[in-house]
């Protein structure tokens, strides 16, 4: 073992410098050319930064489209999900409460039409997206409160829907923050 100790220590030091130091520094330098300059992509509205494109934020007002439930209260200084198992009785009560709340705020929606993602917590707690269906289902509420025709809102959701990659791989998503900004800009 002794024969290998010094070579091990020296090789470790050299590799720490290259892999721990130079590699991320090189990437940080290249990232200056990328969207967000490597600091994360932000969204600006009316001249001020209102958030990060890919970090969900809370919208409590019914006049806005609402993102998925978060177990970290949309606080991006941490992240995580509920880790509740499928049959956990306490967890199922939470889901039932979310269904009831949703029904109370969206009286026009039938229960079986509520997309599962609106009553289940996301994995990161920061999921910035909804499926188009989960945005559509909120249209009657937003339309009523804002006095905007529902089909106008549907066009808005469709305009803010990002299709699957190349149209065929993966899922279509709606970014809730961008949708709500577009909603405020409808005047």
């Amino acid at each position: 073992m002794k024969k290998y100790l010094w070579p091990s220590i020296k090789l470790t030091l050299l590799l720490v410098i290259v892999l721990g130091g130079l590699y991320p520094l090189f990437l940080a330098a290249v990232a200056k050319l990328a969207p967000g300059k490597g600091d994360g992509v932000t969204v600006t509205h009316n001249g001020r930064v209102v958030g990060y494109e890919n970090i969900a934020q809370k919208f409590t007002d019914d006049k806005y489209f609402q993102p998925r439930p978060s177990t970290v209260d949309y606080n991006a200084a941490s992240s995580g999900g509920s880790n509740k198992s499928a049959g956990n009785p306490d967890y199922l009560k939470t889901v039932q409460a979310r269904i009831d709340t949703f029904m109370a705020h969206n009286p026009d929606v039938k229960k079986e039409d509520i997309p599962a993602e609106l009553v289940t917590a996301s994995a990161s707690g920061l999921d910035p997206h909804l499926s188009p269906e989960a945005a559509y289902v909120q249209i009657p509420r937003v339309a009523k409160l804002r006095g905007i025709p529902a089909d106008r809102l549907k066009q808005l959701v469709d305009a803010n829907t990002k299709p699957p990659v190349l149209g065929v791989l993966g899922v279509a998503t709606v970014n809730v923050l961008k949708l709500n900004i577009a909603l405020d800009d409808l005047k």
Partner: protein
């Protein structure tokens, strides 16, 4: 729904397309042929010169293992102290504290052994210094360790009779400079241009649309996530791992991470055939591994896309499947695929929480880690499969009444004993660990030198048992994923899984290297009509049967108490 499945198929297809040329490249490097990456040679020579290493000195299998274990010990000591005193080191913009001794012990071991079981959360438990100079560094070198050990076995299988199996330092360093580093840079660039953070900026504070003040953790994420997957490590930069929108931005980064984590394990299988010039042998192995993966994959995807039956009872339609602990941009099919791949190949990164997946999906995840040989982790996957081959050769030999031979060498008592011990090691570590934690939980729920065991479990009933079983299975398989609801950030779990990690890593590397080394030093027996053909489909099926029977015998009772019972109770 169709586009989700197409996405999964396309991702696997891209992986295969890339694995083939990568395998040819890997073989060229370890045969010492000329490649485009020869411009790295001066740097390698400089490193060897400073370190006082002669890269042309041939080593036997024992010297390989000694060198490998020594440098791993150096990494552990370095990582342990750096993590404990990270608050006093630079690059800590968020002011995070140092780790406690037991947590630093667990974290250091976990990253040294390529596992990345994280009993801390990336946002608050480590600093940028330890993320980069300790954890990302270990992600490179631990993957290179596994590949270097496998290349020794390749060399031993190729030669007729030899004790000269190449130079550990040479194989190890070239794995980093020629394979891991260049590919990681390409992957990281894809991430960066999809908007993944890569700078050293600390937490940002923003005023949201409705006027809340929130903090957003950031950091040098892209480079970390690249090697995290390429090296089948799996440790997340953030707590939410690859479910975090800054660690896995969109479907393109999802596909990239997915390809990155499985491309080397598949390429190593192809490389095996090319290196020892027995391509059919490798194709049969690849076929068996792929069939194994598909057997685990289909139930997982089906279960996740079908949704949670308990939520269906409440009258919710779940057209998009079971969404608890999943992200909309990936969906249930992609998350199911990821959960299978990440458990069979020992990555252990997640893009949706395994704790919240359906019981049968959890069963498939546990099986994936217990088998740990369908493609498997960087290098070590084939080493695990190699042990099953040895057992299969031995049993076949008994069945036909001949002295078993493998690759032109007699397989004798010593090699079979080693293989048998390695086979028994995993069930022993997993089941003894789970039994110990269950005993502490039920008999001493109020001891307070750790967190109270009565508060360990995040879920009641069968699933609670599964949480403990999963943790030891993951530690033994050096996987690193978890049923993360388990309260594992305490002395009991840090120490007990720490020891399982060490044993579950190094013995399954030492075993195959020793067997291969011992066999290669024996007299070469040319193949004859009576030789058992190890490149036939029959032998492939035999190996598959050995794998299935050994696993079922060892784990069925524990699995019946956990995910299987849970499935029938929903």
């Amino acid at each position: 729904m169709t586009t989700e499945i197409l996405g999964v198929i396309a991702t696997y297809g891209i992986t295969l397309l890339l694995a083939w040329p990568l395998a040819r490249y890997i073989v060229k490097i370890f045969r010492g042929e000329r490649t485009w990456s020869d411009f790295m040679a001066p740097l390698e020579r400089l490193f060897f010169k400073i370190s006082g290493i002669n890269p042309h000195e041939e080593m036997n299998w024992k010297q390989h293992l000694k060198a490998m274990l020594t440098i791993n010990l150096v990494w552990f000591v370095y990582a342990f102290f750096a993590l404990m005193f990270q608050d006093k080191l630079p690059l800590n913009p968020d002011g995070n504290p140092g780790q406690s001794a037991d947590l630093a012990f667990n974290t250091a071991i976990s990253f040294v052994v390529n596992c990345n079981l994280q009993h801390y959360s990336g946002e608050a438990g480590v600093t940028y210094f330890t993320q980069l100079f300790v954890l990302a560094f270990l992600q490179f070198v631990s993957a290179a360790t596994g590949i270097a050990a496998l290349v020794v076995v390749f060399k031993a299988m190729k030669e007729k009779t030899t004790t000269q199996l190449g130079n550990f330092w040479d194989i190890f360093l070239k794995t980093i400079t020629r394979i891991l580093l260049p590919i990681s840079i390409v992957i990281a660039l894809i991430f960066i241009f999809n908007g993944m953070p890569a700078s050293f900026a600390g937490k940002d504070t923003v005023l949201t649309m409705q006027g809340d003040t929130v903090n957003v953790s950031r950091g040098p994420v892209a480079g970390f996530v690249a090697i995290k997957h390429l090296g089948t490590n799996g440790g997340g930069f953030f707590g939410a791992n690859s479910a975090h929108p800054l660690e896995n931005v969109n479907y393109v980064t999802w596909m990239t991470e997915m390809v990155a984590q499985v491309v080397i394990p598949i390429a190593m299988v192809f490389a095996l055939g090319m290196f020892i010039q027995r391509k059919k042998f490798a194709y049969v192995i690849f076929g068996i591994m792929t069939i194994g993966m598909i057997c685990l994959l289909i139930p997982s995807m089906q279960q996740e896309m079908a949704g949670n039956p308990e939520i269906a009872k409440m009258g919710i339609h779940q057209a998009t499947g079971a969404m608890e602990g999943k992200e909309v941009r990936f969906g249930p099919a992609a998350t199911g695929y990821w959960s299978t791949v990440t458990t069979i190949i020992s990555t252990g990164s997640v893009c949706g929480w395994h704790d919240s997946t359906m019981p049968l999906t959890g069963l498939m995840q546990l099986l994936g880690m217990m088998l740990n040989c369908f493609y498997g982790g960087c290098g070590v996957g084939i080493l695990n499969y190699y042990i099953y081959i040895i057992i299969a050769v031995f049993i076949s030999g008994l069945m036909v009444g001949r002295t078993p031979e493998f690759m032109g060498h007699k397989l004798e008592a010593r090699e079979v004993k080693i293989a048998a011990l390695i086979t028994l090691l995993s069930p022993f570590l997993i089941l003894a660990g789970t039994a110990l934690s269950s005993w502490v939980l039920s008999h001493h729920p109020d001891i307070n030198w750790a967190v109270k065991p009565s508060a360990w479990l995040n879920n009641p009933g069968y699933h609670g048992f599964s949480e403990m079983l999963y943790e030891y299975t993951s530690a033994n398989a050096n996987n690193g994923s978890g049923f993360e609801g388990l309260g594992d950030g305490n002395i009991f779990w840090n120490v007990s899984t720490g020891f399982v990690l060490i044993l579950g890593r190094f013995l399954p590397i030492i075993g195959p290297v020793a067997i291969a080394g011992l066999m290669a030093s024996k007299k070469y027996v040319p193949e004859s009509a009576g030789t058992l053909r190890t490149d036939s489909l029959t032998f492939g099926a035999m190996t598959f049967a050995v794998i299935v029977i050994l696993t079922a015998l060892a784990y069925f009772p524990a699995l019946a108490l956990g995910p299987i019972a849970e499935y029938f109770s929903l």
